[in-house]
């Protein structure tokens, strides 16, 4: 109903890639991390990293439905670290370059990101500024033909492997939102360092870093758009980021439930399969109902975006719902696996460890609620 034959053909090619190139490697990547350059190059060759972007820069120039198909298929990956790393490249660190960047930046950074030759990361969060983005204190001071950047960023996905960062920094002391600039910062510049690789509860196949900037001179041409409008650009880039959790969640939740149902059908307790227990059956159905409504909210958002409407309100609601649903389903299905669920050798245990962060990263639940309340006028 929502996808035509071309979408489905594209879906089949993404699915093939997930089945052949990703899932068989997930176990090893969970232990050792993903070699992003190697993987992204393959994905770039297949046109997966620039679905919506202009063909001029190597993109496919396709619509939001193709992007949705792509993210849906990432929902079938056996773990969340890698999909997050991929979506940082496609939906979190590059949309602002596409929307507001100069041709120079597109040629120099967007094009190789789409080709999978350069790995991107988004550097907004700081030790003292998470959801409260306006509190960030990393500074960019204009000095001749460069901006000099000082400060630190934390919880940066792909931070250890990135070739460039899309970085938000303060460019003025004035209060309000028009005091920040968004920059493309190559990581081979003098004064940049990865100060720490962070150990997380989950997402082990993805690297997360704390970054340090000590008088890093970034050429002025690496500024995206206007030097006072970076915060506004980032708020729009966030919409692309936050959208990703919607499609991936209803697909992954469905997979988790299918896997759990397979297990409880063959698990015999007190002489009967666990799947005959009414309480478990009802619980599963409640989640299925929520999964179905999230799917349709998502398709509504895609329609809005396709029509050129602002979907901030709906995306914020969707992110809130998706993250909570995901945590509920991962933990609830783990419960049905009993003791096995607590063992790392089961996939459900990885889902549990990986999904906790989804209610925090990309704007915490509380921030989504604040945004919606504000948009509702209270």
């Amino acid at each position: 109903m929502y996808f035509n034959e071309t979408h489905e053909a594209f879906r089949a090619s993404v699915k093939r890639f997930v089945d052949r190139e990703i899932n068989p490697n997930m176990e090893a990547w969970e232990a050792e991390g993903v070699p992003l350059h190697e993987l992204f190059r393959k994905m770039g060759d297949l046109g997966f990293l620039g679905i919506r972007y202009d063909p001029r820069w190597g993109g496919q120039g396709l619509d939001y439905w193709f992007e949705t198909v792509f993210i849906e298929e990432l929902g079938h990956v056996w773990g969340w670290g890698l999909p997050v790393a991929i979506m940082v490249q496609t939906n979190m660190a590059t949309p602002a370059i596409d929307m507001f960047g100069s041709d120079f930046l597109k040629e120099r950074y967007l094009k190789p990101a789409i080709a999978g030759e350069k790995v991107a990361a988004i550097a907004v969060t700081e030790p003292g500024a998470g959801s409260d983005v306006a509190a960030l204190s990393t500074r960019a001071v204009r000095d001749g033909d460069a901006y000099v950047i000082n400060g630190s960023k934390t919880f940066i996905t792909n931070g250890c492997q990135a070739d460039f960062l899309t970085l938000l920094a303060r460019t003025s002391n004035d209060p309000g939102h028009h005091s920040y600039g968004l920059f493309v910062v190559p990581t081979d510049l003098h004064g940049f360092s990865v100060s720490k690789k962070l150990d997380k509860v989950g997402l082990r196949s993805s690297d997360t870093a704390e970054l340090f900037f000590d008088n890093v001179r970034v050429p002025a041409v690496n500024l995206i758009g206007n030097e006072r409008e970076g915060f506004i650009y980032q708020m729009q880039q966030f919409q692309h980021e936050r959208f990703t959790i919607l499609p991936i969640t209803y697909i992954a939740c469905r997979d988790i439930i299918d896997m759990t149902v397979t297990y409880i059908k063959q698990r015999i307790v007190f002489g009967k399969p666990l799947s005959t227990k009414q309480v478990l059956r009802h619980r599963l159905v409640e989640w299925l109902a929520e999964i179905e409504s999230l799917r349709h909210l998502t398709y509504h958002v895609v329609r809005m975006k396709t029509a050129g409407l602002d979907a901030t309100r709906e995306i914020s609601m969707g992110k809130l719902l998706a993250a909570q649903l995901l945590n509920k389903v991962a933990s609830g299905c783990l419960q049905m696996f009993g003791g096995m669920g607590f063992m790392n050798e089961t996939l459900i245990s990885r889902h549990f460890r990986d999904t906790r962060v989804m209610s925090i990263a990309g704007g915490a639940d509380e921030v989504m609620k604040d945004i919606v309340a504000r948009m509702e006028g209270f």
């Binding site: 998470g130 015999i268 607590f342 990263a361």
Partner: protein
């Protein structure tokens, strides 16, 4: 709130234990988690200081202390920032050696209980199997009598202390045709190192300091003197001791929750977002108030159950209620705490992040939430 539960001796014991844990355990907890192992020396020190087996008869190294000392112990274990360690010690103290005390002969107690009280041996209870978790009567491990030996064949899993421990109190079927099946269950002490016993260490989501194992019994010959109590009577002992195990699990859950609340309060008062400490936001304040309320409700009933349990009364229904209520509660508290810690709540270097993973097991281990509700329903006459 001050509860009239503990006397001066309990509080003295608490002070000594707290000091010991602060000196000898907390500073090393991270290392033990990394190594996935608790050093033997710490068990021995605990034994020497009287922190193990204190409820048992002086003939076996104990001091005949009442069960409320177990409550004090569990409370302190949960707040010492060494999640897996607390579980390992409680598994030894409250969940396995108890069977030797309950069913063992004088000789058996001298042989196994005494070294456990001294911390020279580490004990495990082996009931769960790949095919039988909550359904104890469904175990398949067999012990066949052959002359003066039993020959054990089967497999156990999720056994805390099962890898590095020495003594396995093992539930087996000595009669596979018993009707009802639970009347065929017996407990046999298997010593690690006996021929045919092998263990595989399991990697878990959390609780890393504590070792958890899958154990295989391949034609293990065990002298009949290793049988605890009479053949076919173990099910009742297991059901009885489950009450203690679940009470202890509840105390741990409440105390872990309290510890998490304190960490989160400190964070919420210090962390500034949108120009003020996050504790000043109403939604955050209410969240913290909900945590404190849930903890207090669980604590009140758990103390009441502990007091009545210590007097020997049957509080199975209330303990079953508590076991699941407190386990769900502490998971909720850990979830909300990680939320209030933001990104830091997902970083393993933060204790709340580790506890979030560690504590996921508590709605499963020692009887799942669903099993507890089944028991409560049955005791309500439904």
């Amino acid at each position: 709130m001050k509860y009239d539960v503990f006397n001066e001796e309990h509080e003295q014991f608490r002070v000594q234990l707290r000091r010991f844990l602060a000196d000898r355990v907390t500073p090393h907890a991270a290392e033990w988690e990394r190594n996935r192992q608790i050093p033997r020396q710490i068990w021995q020190e605990m034994g020497q200081l009287g922190f193990l087996g204190f409820c048992y008869d002086p003939a076996y190294g104990g001091v005949g202390a009442d069960d409320l000392f177990r409550v004090v112990m569990s409370e302190e274990m949960a707040r010492c920032s060494a999640g897996g360690f607390g579980v390992a010690v409680c598994a030894h103290n409250d969940m396995s050696t108890t069977y030797i005390d309950l069913l063992g002969t004088h000789e058996q107690k001298l042989r196994w209980l005494k070294p456990c009280t001294a911390g020279e041996k580490v004990c495990a209870i082996a009931v769960s199997e790949p095919g039988a978790g909550s359904d104890v009567a469904g175990i398949a491990t067999r012990a066949e009598r052959k002359g003066d030996h039993y020959v054990i064949e089967g497999q156990k899993t999720f056994i805390t202390n099962g890898y590095y421990g020495d003594i396995l109190v093992t539930a087996v079927k000595t009669d596979t045709k018993a009707v009802p099946p639970h009347k065929g269950i017996s407990l046999i002490v298997v010593e690690k190192g006996m021929k045919g016993v092998t263990a595989r260490k399991l990697e878990k989501i959390g609780g890393h300091a504590s070792d958890t194992a899958e154990i295989f019994f391949d034609q293990v010959e065990v002298p009949v003197e290793h049988l605890l109590g009479a053949e076919g009577q173990a099910f009742y002992a297991i059901m009885k001791n489950f009450q203690l195990e679940r009470l202890v699990a509840t105390i741990l859950a409440v105390s872990f929750a309290q510890h998490i609340l304190e960490l989160t309060m400190d964070h919420a008062k210090q962390r500034v977002a949108f120009g003020k400490p996050i504790a000043k936001f109403q939604a955050v304040r209410h969240k913290l108030a909900e945590m404190a309320t849930a903890i207090e409700l669980n604590r009140a009933l758990s103390y009441q159950c502990a007091v009545q349990y210590a007097k020997g009364e049957d509080v199975t229904k209330e303990i079953s209620m508590l076991k699941y209520a407190s386990a769900e509660m502490v998971n909720r508290v850990a979830y909300d705490a990680t939320q209030l810690f933001g990104g830091y709540g997902y970083m393993a270097e933060y204790e709340v992040a580790r506890l979030y993973a560690d504590l996921r097991a508590v709605t499963i281990a020692g009887g799942t939430t669903e099993i507890m509700k089944d028991i409560v329903g049955r005791l309500m006459g439904l």
